[in-house]
Symmetry: C2
Subunit: 153 residues, 2 copies
């Protein structure tokens, strides 16, 4: 998993506190990270339709949906893509006892095991929303946390 996922998730949680669009540079300053690096993650979120960029003087990035409707999986896939970590190279079709390609109409057992695990991983990430994360931040650090972020932004 790329480091960009972590930054993108933190940005989404922070955006739940914002009164309006937040410039990428302001999000970068809040997180003490390079603006160009963070802009890259925000552009990935924008391409996936999770945030949109508002132009102009009071412009910046804002969430496009209710935070309860954006899942952690949405953010992970926006930044890292939806490709599973396991890539089947059809080992069963190799060597002297190769299974003929035409007999390989379903994924092999190894591939199926990996798909099952990948689906369990995605289901877990799909079960947690940005609103859930924001709620946990409040639970962990108190309600003043988001108020401080809101003031600062």
């Amino acid at each position: 998993m790329s480091g960009g996922v972590e930054w993108a998730l933190h940005c989404c949680v922070v955006l739940t506190a914002a009164r309006g669009p937040v410039p990428a540079a302001r999000l970068a300053e809040l997180h003490d990270v390079s603006g160009s690096y963070l802009a890259k993650q925000l552009q990935s979120l924008a391409r996936a339709g999770l945030v949109h960029s508002v132009q102009g003087h009071a412009g910046g990035y804002a969430l496009t949906h209710d935070p309860a409707d954006i899942t952690v999986l949405d953010v992970v896939e926006a930044v890292d893509g939806a490709r599973p970590a396991f890539v089947c190279t059809e080992i069963r079709q190799r060597g002297p006892l190769a299974t003929p390609a035409e007999a390989c109409t379903t994924p092999c057992p190894v591939h199926r095991a990996m798909t099952q695990a990948d689906e369990a991983w995605r289901a877990a990430l799909r079960s947690i929303s940005i609103a859930d994360l924001a709620g946990q931040v409040t639970g962990d650090y108190g309600p003043a946390t988001f108020e401080a972020i809101r003031q600062w932004l």
Copy 2:
């Protein structure tokens, strides 16, 4: 996930069919893959105690446990290590509103979400054994498959 995991899993399934230790070169030939590449995966399995190397004329690799007691997760961790895909860099401790390090006694909500998904992934891989994979191979391609492998080895 590294490509080595796929090869290592296929080797373990093949070893369930073997009457005795199988030389790495023979496994490589069966899979039509470079012997040195496959030897690397087998050495990872040996370091993790999943296979052992028998020296001598009739030597080679053999599973150390009943295939029902070796999980897909065991093989994945033997080859790729047990480190989760998500690495928390403690973003909450950065910037003008940083949470003080001494207040960070538990992982942050983003980290917890990733840990939860990682555990779901590992649980799925832990629920499938090498014996299960071998059983599915027989189910998919018929009981003659392992007999053919046994003869060939």
